[in-house]
C-alpha cells in the first residue's frame, strides 16, 4: 500500500498533570474529580458538549442505581443525580426513590440540563475543556505516555502530561500507544449492534404504558409492521413534561471502528428512528402527538474495543457477587448484551440473560476492581468507560453511564495519587485509592482494602 511520510514540527503546550481523552461519563468523572483534587487537567472532547452517550448520544437515562434499599452508585454520579433533581432536570413529579432505593431503579433526564451541569462542574473545578478537539496520536514507550497530539481548527498541538485517561469509549488512545486490546468482531465472533437514539416531544406521559408497548411490539413484529423483525426495543423514556428519548432500532452488523460501517450506520439509524417514531405515534396511547425532534449527534455504540487490563472482570466474578478489596465501585445491572440479530434464538438468549439468569436481586451487588482500568503493564495510562477490561458478559452489564462515571472518578483519582506519590498505574496503593474515593462519597462496602491491586492474567 502506498504510504505518505507525514512530517511536521508542531507547537507544544505547557504540560498538564492529566490529559483526559473524551468528555463522556468516563472522561467527566476523571477530569472533574482529578481537578477537584488540585490537578491541572485538560479534557479533550470531539463534540461541543460533555456527557457523551447521555447527551450527544441521547441515551438520556440512568438505570440500575439502587438495590431495593439503598443507592449503590455514589461519588460524582450520586451528586449529578441529586443536583439534576434539584434543578428540574427530570420529568416533573419524579420520585427520588427511583434512584435512592428502587431495585434496578432508573430515571430519565433532560440532556440539556446535564450538559449545562457538567459545563458548570468543569468550570468550577478548574478543568480546561477543549471542545471540537480530538486526541489523534501519542508518543509512548516502555509503558509510559510522554504526550499526545491534539487536533482541532487551530491545527496540531503536542500536549505533554504526567498522566492520561482514555475515555474515548473505543480505547483509541490505548490503541495508539500499542496497548493490548480486544476488538469486537475480530477477537469475538459478533458485535453488539448500536442504536441511534432520538429526542422526542409532544408526549402525554400520563397515558404511556411501557408494558403495553412491549406487547404491541411483539404483535407488530409478528404482523410484519417493521423493516426488520426486531423484538428487542428498549422504547421511550420520559425526560420532561412532554419530552423524552427514543431508544429503538438496532443497526445490525455495524463495526464502529470501521468508518464506512459507522457512516452507513448513521444513515440507517436515521431511517430506523423515523420508522419507530411513526409506529409509536400510530400505535400507542400517549403518543398521538409524538414528534421526532432530532436524532443523536453520536451513534449509540454499545461495543467496540476494550483493553486487556491488569484484571479482567468476568462472569464468574459476576455470578459470585464478588467483592474485591480494591473495588472502585459496586454495581447491580444484569448482563445486557443486545440481540445480535432478529432470530428467535437471539431474543431468547438476550431475554434470559437480562431478566432471569443471575440477575442481581434485592441487596445484591458485584464489585469492579481497580485493575480493569489499567492496560496491563502501563504506568501512566488508565481507561474509563465502556473500554474497560471485562469479559463479554460483564462488559454487557457495566458499559452503562453510571458505571462509567464511577470508573472515571476512580481513574482520575488514581492518576492524581500516582502523580503525587510517584506510584504507577500498574502498581498503585489501592488501599489509599479506596480511602480517597470513600472520602469523595463513593459507596465502597468492602470490609478490607489492600495495598496491592487484585491481578489476574486474563484468559487468552
Amino acid at each position: 500500500m502506498d504510504t505518505y511520510a507525514f512530517n511536521r514540527r508542531i507547537p507544544v503546550d505547557q504540560p498538564y498533570d492529566l490529559v483526559v481523552a473524551g468528555g463522556g461519563p468516563g472522561g467527566c468523572g476523571a477530569a472533574i474529580c482529578a481537578a477537584r483534587l488540585g490537578a491541572r487537567v485538560l479534557l479533550v472532547e470531539g463534540t461541543g458538549a460533555l456527557g457523551g452517550m447521555g447527551t450527544s448520544g441521547l441515551v438520556s437515562l440512568w438505570m440500575s442505581l439502587a438495590d431495593g434499599q439503598r443507592m449503590i452508585v455514589g461519588g460524582l454520579i450520586g451528586e449529578l443525580l441529586e443536583t439534576l433533581h434539584a434543578e428540574g432536570g427530570f420529568r416533573p413529579g419524579t420520585d427520588p426513590a427511583a434512584w435512592r432505593q428502587r431495585l434496578h431503579g432508573g430515571v430519565g433526564f433532560n440532556a440539556e440540563a446535564l450538559k449545562r451541569l457538567l459545563d458548570r462542574l468543569c468550570r468550577e473545578a478548574g478543568v480546561e475543556v477543549r471542545f471540537f478537539s480530538r486526541v489523534i496520536d501519542a508518543e509512548a514507550a516502555d509503558g509510559r505516555i510522554a504526550g499526545v497530539v491534539v487536533n482541532n481548527v487551530e491545527g496540531h498541538r503536542y500536549v505533554p502530561a504526567r498522566a492520561f485517561v482514555d475515555a474515548t469509549g473505543d480505547a483509541v488512545l490505548a490503541t495508539l500507544c500499542g496497548a493490548a486490546c480486544r476488538r469486537a468482531g475480530r477477537d469475538t465472533p459478533r458485535i453488539m449492534p448500536p442504536t441511534l437514539c432520538a429526542r422526542i416531544a409532544g408526549m402525554d406521559w400520563s397515558r404511556w404504558d411501557y408494558g403495553l408497548m412491549l406487547r404491541r411490539i411483539m404483535d407488530g413484529v409478528a404482523a410484519g409492521a417493521f423493516s426488520q423483525p426486531d423484538r428487542h426495543v428498549p422504547g421511550l423514556f420520559a425526560g420532561g413534561a412532554t419530552t423524552g428519548i427514543q431508544n429503538a432500532g438496532h443497526i445490525f452488523g455495524t463495526d464502529a471502528l470501521d468508518v464506512h460501517s459507522l457512516s452507513a450506520a448513521m444513515a440507517r439509524g436515521r431511517e430506523l428512528a423515523a420508522e419507530y417514531a411513526a409506529w409509536f405515534r400510530a400505535n400507542l396511547p400517549g403518543c398521538e402527538g409524538l414528534e421526532l425532534t432530532a436524532t443523536a449527534a453520536l451513534l449509540g455504540v454499545r461495543e467496540s474495543r476494550r483493553i486487556v487490563g491488569e484484571y479482567e472482570v468476568d462472569y464468574a466474578d459476576f455470578r459470585a457477587r464478588r467483592m474485591f478489596p480494591d473495588q472502585i465501585c459496586v454495581y447491580n445491572k444484569a448482563v445486557d448484551i443486545h440481540v445480535y440479530d432478529c432470530s428467535d434464538a437471539e431474543w431468547e438468549r438476550y431475554h434470559a440473560e437480562f431478566t432471569t439468569d443471575d440477575r442481581p436481586g434485592p441487596g445484591e451487588v458485584y464489585g469492579l476492581p481497580y485493575g480493569i482500568l489499567v492496560p496491563r503493564g502501563w504506568r501512566n495510562l488508565w481507561v474509563a468507560g465502556r473500554c474497560n477490561s471485562s469479559d463479554l458478559k460483564v462488559h454487557g452489564a457495566i458499559r452503562d453511564q453510571p458505571a462509567c462515571y464511577m470508573m472515571g472518578q476512580a481513574a482520575g483519582t488514581a492518576a492524581v495519587q500516582a502523580i503525587r506519590s510517584g506510584q504507577t498505574a500498574c502498581d498503585l496503593d489501592t488501599a489509599q485509592l479506596v480511602e480517597t474515593l470513600r472520602g469523595a462519597g463513593a459507596y465502597l462496602p468492602q470490609r478490607e482494602t489492600a495495598r496491592e491491586m487484585t491481578k489476574k492474567p486474563s484468559a487468552g
Binding site: 505518505y4 507525514f6 507547537p11 477543549r130 481548527v153 416531544a201 409532544g202 448513521m266 425532534t293 432530532a294
Partner: protein, 460 residues
C-alpha cells in the same frame, strides 16, 4: 515556542476525482452535483450527518429563496425544498406560495427530514461519505496553486487522500488556509467578528396564534426593561414553528467569538447553552402562548456566522449588490438583505443593523436580484481548489448576505460541477470555461437567466 517533531508513515487513498471537505449545505451540494456527473467523489464530514448549519447547527429555516415574483434558487437546493414539502417535512403552513414566491419569507423545516433527504441524495449520486472524519492537514504547492492531498483523521487513524480536485466547504476555509491560499480572517483583517449563536429546538405545547413575531418582540422589550437578560441584546431573530409542538429558536449572541480559536469555541459552547436556557425562561415568562415550553435540544455545532474567507478571483462587493449586478458567469441569484448581526449590544450597532436590514437604500425590492459570479469560489490563482459556502470571496457586507444555506447550496453545486468540468476538459479552477459551466448548471435546473455568457470568469 517549543516544537515537537512528529513523524508518521500514513496510508494513502488515491483515485478520487473530487474530494469535498465538509458536508454542510455547500459540501453536500458539491458532492451530489459531482457524483451525478459520474465523478468518483469522497465527502468528508466531521459530524455524523450532512446539512451542517441546517442540521447540526439547528438553523432549521431556509433564508428567502424567492423575491415576490419568482423562485430565485434552483438546482439541488430547489429539489431539496420541493422534496421536503412533498414529504411533509417543512414546517406547518409552509407552501410553494411562500418558499417559491414569497418576498423575504423564511421556510422552516424539520431537521430529521432534511438529514434523511441529504443521506438519500448523496447515496443516489454514488458519493462515498465518511462521517466522523476531520481534515487535519494538507499537502499543497501554493506556488503552483495545486493541492496534492489532504490528511484526514478518524477512528481508523490517519489517512492521506489524493484527488484530482478539492472543494473546501468547511465554512472556515480550513483547507484553503492550510494549503497557503490568501485568506481574510475576521478580527484580524477586519476589526470585528459577527457574533455566533447556539440555536435550539423548544418543545410545546405552544399556542402559535398568540406567540407571533410581534408578541415576541413586545415581550423582548419588557424583559429588557426588567433587566431579565445577562446581555441586553435587542436582536432576537425569534422562535419559528417547525412542528406541531416544536419551535426553532435563533436567539442569544456569542459576541467576539473567533471560530478559529479553540478557546473561544469551547467557552462559546458553554455560554451558548446558558443563554439558550435563559431564552427558554424568557419565552415562558414574557411571551403569551409559551408558558409550557420545554427545552428539547441545543445544537451540536455553534452557529458561526463569520470566520475566514478566501481572497478569490473575484471579490463580490456591496457596489455589485446595490447595482443589482448580473454577471455572465453568475452561478446563482439571490436577494436577501445585508444581515450582519450587531457586533455588540450598543445603540449604534442596533441602528446600523436595522438600517442595513430595513432601509430601502440598502435593500433589494420585490422582483429584484443580484448575481453571484463564479470567481468568488476560486482562491486567486489556484488550479484544483474551490471553496463553497460562507468562506467564499466577498467583502464584509456581501458576506452578510450570502453566508446562508440556500446560497451555500448553489455555490456548492457550482463548485462540484466546475471541478468535474476542469477534470474532464483539462481546465483549471482559475481559468475555467464559464460559458460551459453555466450551460451545465442550467441543465441541472439552476436558475441562471443571464442573456450573455463568457468563456472567462469575471475577475476583480
Amino acid at each position: 515556542m517549543d516544537t515537537h517533531t512528529f513523524t508518521r508513515r500514513i496510508p494513502v487513498d488515491a483515485g478520487y476525482d473530487v474530494c469535498v471537505l465538509g458536508g454542510g449545505p455547500a459540501g453536500a451540494a458539491a458532492a451530489i452535483a459531482a457524483g451525478r456527473l459520474g465523478a468518483r467523489v469522497l465527502l468528508v464530514e466531521g459530524t455524523g450527518c450532512l446539512g451542517g448549519m441546517g442540521t447540526s447547527g439547528l438553523v432549521t429555516a431556509f433564508d428567502p429563496m424567492a423575491n415576490g415574483a419568482e423562485m430565485l434558487v434552483g438546482g439541488i437546493m430547489r429539489q431539496i425544498v420541493e422534496t421536503l414539502h412533498r414529504e411533509g417535512e417543512l414546517g406547518p403552513g409552509m407552501s410553494p406560495e411562500i418558499f417559491a414566491k414569497g418576498y423575504m419569507r423564511w421556510t422552516p423545516f424539520r431537521v430529521e427530514g432534511y438529514k434523511r433527504v441529504l443521506d438519500r441524495l448523496a447515496t443516489a449520486a454514488g458519493v462515498e461519505v465518511r462521517f466522523f472524519t476531520r481534515l487535519c492537514d494538507a499537502e499543497a504547492d501554493s506556488g503552483a496553486g495545486r493541492v496534492e492531498g489532504v490528511v484526514l483523521n478518524n477512528v481508523e487513524g490517519w489517512r492521506m487522500v489524493r484527488a484530482a480536485t478539492f472543494i473546501d466547504a468547511t465554512g472556515d476555509a480550513v483547507l484553503a488556509a492550510a494549503a497557503g491560499a490568501a485568506c481574510r480572517e475576521a478580527g484580524r483583517d477586519s476589526p470585528r467578528i459577527m457574533p455566533a449563536t447556539m440555536a435550539s429546538l423548544f418543545a410545546g405545547p405552544v399556542d402559535w396564534r398568540r406567540c407571533t413575531w410581534q408578541a415576541q418582540q413586545d415581550g423582548l422589550k419588557r424583559a429588557l426593561a426588567d433587566g431579565f437578560f445577562t446581555q441586553p441584546d435587542r436582536h432576537l431573530p425569534g422562535l419559528s414553528v417547525v412542528g406541531d409542538s416544536l419551535g426553532y429558536l435563533n436567539g442569544g449572541h456569542l459576541f467576539d467569538l473567533n471560530a478559529l480559536r479553540c478557546r473561544d469555541l469551547s467557552a462559546g459552547a458553554m455560554l451558548g447553552r446558558r443563554l439558550a436556557k435563559e431564552y427558554l425562561e424568557f419565552f415562558k415568562r414574557y411571551v403569551p402562548g409559551c408558558e409550557q415550553l420545554e427545552h428539547a435540544t441545543t445544537a451540536s455545532l455553534l452557529g458561526i456566522r463569520e470566520s475566514r474567507r478566501i481572497v478569490g478571483e473575484y471579490e463580490l462587493n456591496v457596489q455589485d449588490y446595490l447595482a443589482r449586478r448580473h454577471f455572465p458567469d453568475q452561478i446563482g441569484l439571490f436577494n436577501k438583505f445585508i444581515d450582519i448581526h450587531p457586533y455588540d449590544c450598543s445603540d449604534a450597532e442596533w441602528a446600523r443593523f436595522r438600517a442595513e436590514k430595513d432601509e430601502p437604500r440598502w435593500k433589494l425590492g420585490p422582483g429584484e436580484s443580484f448575481g453571484i459570479p463564479y470567481g468568488v469560489l476560486v482562491p486567486r490563482g489556484w488550479k484544483n481548489l474551490w471553496v463553497a459556502g460562507r468562506c467564499v470571496s466577498s467583502d464584509l457586507q456581501v458576506h452578510g448576505v450570502i453566508r446562508v444555506q440556500p446560497t451555500a447550496a448553489m455555490m456548492g453545486q457550482a463548485a462540484g460541477t466546475a471541478a468535474v468540468q476542469a477534470l474532464r476538459h483539462g481546465q483549471t479552477a482559475c481559468d475555467l470555461d464559464t460559458a460551459a459551466l453555466v450551460a451545465s448548471l442550467r441543465d441541472q435546473g439552476a436558475n441562471l437567466p443571464q442573456a450573455v455568457l463568457a468563456r472567462t470568469a469575471t475577475r476583480s
